[in-house]
Structure formats: C-alpha cells, structure tokens
C-alpha cells in the first residue's frame, strides 16, 4: 500500500454548497411527492367532503352555492337505517375477520412451522382467494349455497340429509368474507413467522411449555403486531367490499354500509350528498381503526432480517400432520374447487334450474352458448384489453410511486415524511364507489382531456390502492437491513447508485409482489371504475357487473371464469418471475450464521 497521501483541501470548498444542495434536494423531493399526493388523494377527498357538506354536485353547482351545512351528517346519524347498516357492517366484518384470522393464522403456522406434507400447495391455496373478485365470490356462493336450490343443498337433499345451508344470512356472509379475506392474515403472519427466530420457541419448550402453550404464549404474542396489522387491514378492506354483501346480503335483507351507499348512488334520483355523508362515517370508523393500530403498534419493531439468521424450524407433527393436511385440502375444496365448479356449471349450463341431483348431470343441458354470446359482444374483448392495459399502467406507475413513497417514509430523513405517511394511508378509508364519484368530480374539469381516457382509471386505482401497495412494499423493504445500504454508501456509491445496485435487487421480490397485488386489485376494482369508464374504456369489472345486473347468471359465470383464468395465468407468470428473482435473497435469509 502506498504511503500517506497528502489530503487535499479542495473538497472543503465543495462541501458547503453540497450541504445546501442536499437540503434543497430533500425539500424538492418531498415537495414533489406531496404535490403528487395532493392531486391523487387530498383534492378528491376535499371534493368529497365538500359534496357531503353542501348537498350539491360540486361540478354542477360550482362553488357559488357554497352554503356549508352539516345537515347531511346529522340526518345520516339520526337515520335508523344507517344505524342498522353500520351495525350489520361492523358485525359482518368483525365476524368475517375472526374467521379470517382463524383460517389465515392456522395455515401460516401450518406452512411455516410444521412438517405437513404438500406445504407448497397449501401456501398457494392460502393466497388463491385473493384473486377472486368479490362479486364473483358472491355469485359462486349464491349458486352453491342459496337456501333452496344451492348445489350443496341439492346434493344434501339427494343424500337424504335434512341439513341445509343458507348463505343468504349473516352467518353465511361472515363465513364467505372470512374465507376470502384470510389471505390478508396469511400474508402478514406467514412472513412474520418466517422471520421469527425459532430459538425463542425452543426456549419456551425447554422451559417446560408444551407445543400448544408455546404457540399461545410465545409464538403468537411475538407475531402479534403482524396479526394485528393483518386483522385490521382485512377488517378495513371488508368494510369497503360491495360484491359479496350485494349478492348475499340483499336477498336476506341484510343491508351493510356499502350496499346502502350503492343504493343511494343507484337510485333515481341519486342521493350523493347522503352517500358522501355515509362514506365519511365509514371513513371515520376506518380512520379510528388505523389510528388504533398505529397506537397499539407504536414502539414495536418489525425489523427482522439481518446478516444474522437462523435455520427455519419445522415442528414434527407426527400423525397429526395428516389432520393439518386434511384441513388444508378441505380449505382448498371449499374456497377454490367448489366455487370454481359452481362457476363452471353455471357457465356451461343453459339454465341454472337444477331440480335434483340427476338433473345436474344431464349433459343435454350443457353447452358453450354463454361463451359464444360473451365473445360475440365486442365489448367483452375490448374490456379485457382495456383491463390489461389499465392494470399494467396501474401496477407499474403505482408500484414506482409506492416504492418512492415507502422508501422516503421508512428510509430517509427528509422533511415532511410523516405527512407523506399519513396522506398516503387515507385512501384505505374510502369505499371505491364514493371515491369514484370524488375522482369524477375532481378530475373531470382538468384541462388536457384526462377524462374519457384509460389514464383517469389508472390514476384512480393508483391513488385508491396506494396504502395497500406501500404496506406490501414496506414490509419487504423494512426487512432489508439498513447496514446493507450503508455499506454501499461507504463504498462510495451515491443514493441513486445504492438504490439501483443494492436496494432494488434486494427488494425486487417484494416490488414484484406489490406490483402483482396492485395489478390484481386494479383488475378487480369495480366501485371507482363505475364512474370513470367511458365507451372506449370499458373494463372487465364493470362489464361483469352489467352482466350480473342484467340477470344472466350464465354469461356472468362465463365471464367470471374467463377473468379467473386470465388472472391465474398472469399471476403464475408474475410468481415465476418473482421466484427466480427471490431465490438468492431467500437463501440469504435462510442461512448465514
């Protein structure tokens, strides 16, 4: 090595402007992000609040009829129907969440911590329901378990059993909700379990605790933050779901807030001010829950992965592993196989009138007529193309934006990152149907012809799913130990160089997963699409609702199947992409010390 190098004094003159530049850059960056969020989130919400306060369509009335009043709120709060819908919503979502926690937690534990066979299959199954649009789930379960002619009930009648299932009930909705939102719990808890040092459990067992006791006193409390996050997220998401209660709740006359809001907007004349006021109520409930979650989790850390790591541990279940496998297969049957079969039957059968079991297997009743009619409609193909386009735009731009926000919020010290954090969580609280109107009101007047293009849909989806995407990204980002970045800075690489060569490659599986999630959410999204699509930009979710409202269950089921298959193919591709990307990083987490 060479001898001492005489230090240059030149850099000192560079450093002073460097500091200011740095500060200016940080302001500029957070200012840009804030501006984007102002456009995507704050402005539409302000318009919505204005709508709730004025009894007017802000675009139609302009700002001259600006007499604010809270009568909408007082009316809404005094309305017993709202009370009922709110109570039902809370009950259904609480029940659904409980079921979801039970299912999600069980399977995440089974997959991560036991030696149950076919774990890969179970892991995949546990995520599958996420891909099913709620309306499709509702329709499938209506076909399966409507009280008189549901296929399950027909089957049981044929078996001579007197037991019947009625999915048009509170219990029915709770169970369907629970089954379809269990993946949210699974996602959160599985990664937390994976990142938990098994030594902690071993210590408990050494101290004399049995497996179950260890689970209850050590494992679950340790991942409690993850359970709580998943629980609240699934609760909040359920609160905003329209499809399932629309199909299952209405025949049973069980209104919930979303179906109530939908009715308010669908009736002629529409009662938007009231709908907006009810939505604000929903926002308050959601906001309180989010706040509660942050309060409960304050001070608890999620950072888990470092260079230090451990071998994953599998609990040897012995013969019990066939019980867990059985449970998993049952779940697969109930959540995936049966609904898919129901859709297949409905899609290929001329009519869904099935008098008894033999009628179900009457081959003359089956044919391709629904698919023929579906594809004879030029809108079907256009909607598929549009949906793919809007999904892709949403996933890419939304993913990039969410990454920028997540990184800024969690990994930098720039000014205003708390504000960014709070603003970007706001959209989770607003049901799609209402935010759709807000976007329409907010953005239709913008110059440049945003309205009527695919971009207005994409922007709405990006804004609407910002919280979900940031959440998904942050978990994977927080797992990248800070020192991995610092090492790169020390090595002389700048912020951008480090992002490109260290952070992005390591976060890639997480980024791809988040983009996939965003893509799925965008494809499923109905509520906000309803107001923003035009003749040129019809999307699948809207067309599906049209078919459903048109009363043709066969063609609805056929289209649902097409959509499901399409999603399945795309997700498998994304999964393959992220798997190949994830491989080295996973190993890195798997073993080191």
């Amino acid at each position: 090595m060479s001898a001492e190098v005489t230090a240059l004094s030149a850099p000192q003159t560079r450093t002073r402007p460097g500091v200011n530049w740095r500060k200016a850059g940080s302001w500029l960056w957070s200012g840009t992000l804030l501006l984007i969020l102002a456009f995507l989130v704050i402005y539409p919400i302000a318009v919505l609040l204005l709508g709730a306060l004025t009894n007017a369509n802000p675009v139609v009335e302009g700002f001259r009829g600006f007499d604010l009043s809270i009568t909408n709120f007082t009316d809404v709060l005094a309305n017993p129907n709202v009370h009922l819908a709110l109570a039902n919503s809370l009950l259904v979502c609480a029940g659904g969440t409980a079921v979801a926690v039970l299912i999600g937690l069980t399977f995440s534990w089974v997959v991560v911590r036991t030696d149950t066979p076919w774990k890969g299959l179970i892991a995949a199954t546990s995520m599958l329901p996420l891909f099913v649009p709620p309306l499709v789930a509702g329709v499938a379960w209506a076909i399966l378990a409507s009280p008189k002619t549901g296929l399950i009930n027909t089957f049981m009648a044929a078996m001579g059993l007197s037991w019947r299932i009625d999915v048009y009930s509170m219990t029915g909705m709770i169970i369907v909700f629970g089954m379809y939102y269990a993946p949210y719990i699974y996602m959160f808890t599985a990664s937390a379990l994976r990142n938990m040092d098994p030594a902690l459990e071993e210590a408990a067992e050494i101290s004399g605790a049995g497996s179950l006791r260890t689970l209850m006193t050590v494992t679950f409390p340790l991942i409690a933050p993850a359970i709580l996050s998943g629980t609240l997220l699934s609760f909040v998401v359920m609160l905003g779901i329209y499809g399932i209660p629309a199909v299952l709740g209405t025949p049973g006359n069980i209104p919930v807030l979303t179906t109530y809001i939908f009715k308010l907007t669908a009736w002629s004349p529409p009662l938007y001010a009231t709908a907006a006021a009810v939505s604000v109520l929903l926002m308050v409930v959601t906001g309180a829950l989010v706040w509660l979650q942050q309060w409960l989790l304050s001070g608890r850390s999620y950072t888990t992965v470092a260079g230090k790591a451990f071998r994953p541990r599998s609990l040897r279940l012995g013969p019990w592993r066939f019980l867990t496998l059985g449970l998993a297969l049952l779940y697969l049957l109930v959540v995936v196989v049966l609904p898919t079969l129901a859709l297949v039957v409905a899609a290929f059968r001329k009519f869904l009138f099935i008098r008894d079991l033999p009628a179900l297997f009457d081959g003359r009743q089956y044919g391709l007529q629904h698919f023929e009619r579906l594809f004879a409609n030029p809108l079907a193909l256009r909607s598929i193309a549009n949906t793919m386009e809007v999904g892709l735009i949403t996933a890419v731009i939304g993913g990039v934006l969410a990454f920028a926000l997540g990184y800024t919020i969690h990994r930098t010290t720039v000014v205003g990152r708390r504000a960014l954090d709070i603003i970007s969580t706001l959209p989770v609280a607003i049901p799609g149907l209402v935010i759709g109107v807000a976007y329409l009101w907010a953005w239709i007047g913008l110059p440049g012809g945003l309205y009527g293009t695919i971009w207005i849909l994409a922007l709405a989806f990006i804004a609407r799913f910002l919280p979900d995407t940031i959440k998904a990204l942050s978990t994977s980002m927080l797992q990248i130990h800070r020192e991995l970045e610092e090492a790169s800075w020390i090595c002389g690489r700048g912020l951008l160089g480090t992002l490109r060569s260290i952070v992005l490659p390591l976060a890639r599986p997480g980024v791809i997963a988040a983009m996939t999630l965003l893509f799925i959410l965008a494809i499923r999204e109905l509520g906000s699409s309803l107001f923003l699509y035009t003749s040129q930009t019809m999307v699948m979710a809207v067309l599906l609702l049209d078919y459903y409202e048109g009363g043709n269950l066969g063609i609805t089921a056929a289209f649902s199947l097409v959509q499901t298959v399409l999603l399945g193919v795309l997700i498998s591709l994304a999964h393959l992409a992220s798997r190949s990307a994830a491989a080295p990083a996973d190993v890195g987490i798997g073993r080191a010390g």
């Binding site: 369509n57 675009v59 139609v60 009335e61 017993p80 129907n81 009922l84 409507s146 008189k148 002619t149 629309a246 199909v247 209405t250 025949p251 006359n253 209104p255 179906t259 109530y260 009715k263 907007t265 669908a266 009736w267 002629s268 004349p269 529409p270 009662l271 938007y272 001329k350 009519f351 869904l352 009138f353 099935i354 008098r355 009619r373 409609n377 030029p378 809108l379 329409l440 009101w441 239709i444 007047g445 309205y451 009527g452 309803l530 107001f531 699509y533 035009t534 003749s535 040129q536 019809m538 067309l543 049209d546 078919y547 459903y548 409202e549 048109g550 009363g551 043709n552 269950l553 063609i555």
Partner: protein, 349 residues
Amino acid sequence: MAPLGMFRHLAKAAVAFTVAVSAATGAAQAQEPNFGPPELIEAARKEGRMVFYTAGFTEVEQEVIAAFNKRFPFVKVEMVRASGGQLITRIKTEAAAGKLIADVIDHSDRGLMLEMADLFQDYAPPNAADYLPDSHPSPKIWPRITLGWVIAYNDALVKDPPKTWMDLTKPEYGNAQIGQVIAPSGGTTWTRTMFERQVLGEDYWQKQAATKPRLYPSGAPLADALVRGEVTIAPSLYNIVYSKKRDGAPIGIVFPPEGIPVNPYADAIPKTAANPNAAKLFLNWCLSEEGQAFMIKQFGNLTSLKKPPILPEGFDPKVAKVWLPEFSQYEKLRNTWVEDWNKIYGYRQ
C-alpha cells in the same frame, strides 16, 4: 313543453293507451319505412359514429345496436351503460364540466330526464305523431323503450300458478315463494307499485306483504332466482323473463287481467352532441315501426306507439290492458308512497 294539464287529462282517460287489436298484426309494413331525409342519412354517414348512454341492459342494447347496424352499418355506436342514479350523476357532472360525451341519452326515469330538458336539443322522429302523447313528457324526449310488468313463475315448480295480481296476496303463495323488486329501485318498479296501490286497492301492499315475499334490489337477479327456483313466483318485467323463456328456461308468464303497468323510457339528444345526425338516425330507427317491432319480438318490450306493429307473444290486449301512470302523480306521490312501501314491506333503506 306541453302543459302538464294535458297529460293529466289524457291519462285520466286512461288507461289511455289501449292497444288496438285490429291494427295489430299483418298490415304494418305497408309503406317503405321512413328513417329521415336523405341529407340526414348522408350526414350521419359522414359522422360515422356516436356515443350512446343507456340505463338498459348491456346485452340487450348490444343486440339493438347490431340490428340498427344491419340497416345502417356505417354508424358505429359506442355504448356507456350505468344504473339509473349513476348515469344521472355522470350526465350532470359531465354536462357541468362541458364534457358531455353522449350523443344519445337513454334513461328509465322520465322525471329525472325532464329535469334536465335544458340540456337537450329539439328532436322528433319522423313518426312522432304515431306516439301516445302521454308516453313522453317533453317534445324533446321520446320513449325508445316501453316495458311492462307481468307475473312470472317457475313452471317446473309451480303447478297452480296465480292468474291475477290479487292472487299474489293469497296465503298459499306465502312463505318467501314470491320475489319482489324493491319499490325504491327506480322508475319502472315505482310505476308498478303505484299501479298496485291506485288500481288494486289501498290495502294491496299490506295483503301482499303478508305473504312475506323475498326482496331483490333489481329485476334481473330476481328473474335469475326465479329460473333457479330460489323463488317460484315474481312480478317481473316482461322483457326480462321473455328472453329466458324463449331460450328454454322453465318460466311461465301471466298477463294479469287487472292491467299491465308500463314504463316508457326517455330518450333525448344533448345540445352538445358531437354527432347529432348519427344520433337522430339511431333514434329514428329505434322509434320506427321496424325498430319497435324488433324490440318487441326480440326482447319482449311493449311499445308506446298508438298502433303497435306487432303484439308480444301471449299478450291479448282484450284481456289485459296496459296502464300508464298519470305523469304529475307519478312525480308527486313518489317519495311518500315509496316510504310507505318500505315500511309495509319491512324494507330498510
């Protein structure tokens, strides 16, 4: 705009709109159909496209467009479909922002369309005089679609179907066998519930509600439940059950003798239409005898033409007369009566 008094007068006569059997069947297509002057057709050809906002069903309207294109293949019709309230919100917002894209607006609620009459340009089809005055509340607004209510039942499950509206109050059809669309679902259902109370009696709702019908948010899911046997009897729009029956679904249809409540839609052309000629041509065709006959035959619509070009299958105007609500009452009674209905049917809105 025509004075409302005239409607009231005409409507009292009632019932007004009787379908004459004599004119019905054969001789409809005597002269060459008139879809407008050649200049209009030429101008429409130049425009080549139009945007159609509708509250109708996607599938049905796609077929209408296809039939229209058989005659005029050079006009590409782009459709935006939304349910009633959502469509109104969208139209109002777009209009206020100066971005109303629609060339033709089609809505099930005449009242709401009338409120927006200022948005629309003057338009009348060539056969304007053939339409019942009561079926369109403004000279700018025309009933492209006319729908009527019937009783439908699952004929594989119901051996002794109801014959009249009054039969639906019988206890033997109780216990959730009957399905009902909720009164607040829109103008069409409101027309039927209004008919029930005005024609069938003040206490009809109470008696009918006593059979504990299952309630549905709109007609289509109800018709579907009927096919599946989830409910077995339902007051239904004829067009919804007609197509299912035609395709072989186990459905029986009764035209009750007390009357067939009908709801004419409202169609108009906005002043801002970018393709007004294509819009006019499209409406001209829809409102022509050819268009109306197509919709009657294909979808089970009725018509607001004084002389229907054809009659729906199974519909005998001698037995069942159509009933058109008196327009001012249709507007005035609506809110209070729908509230009464909600209370009586235990529907919590």
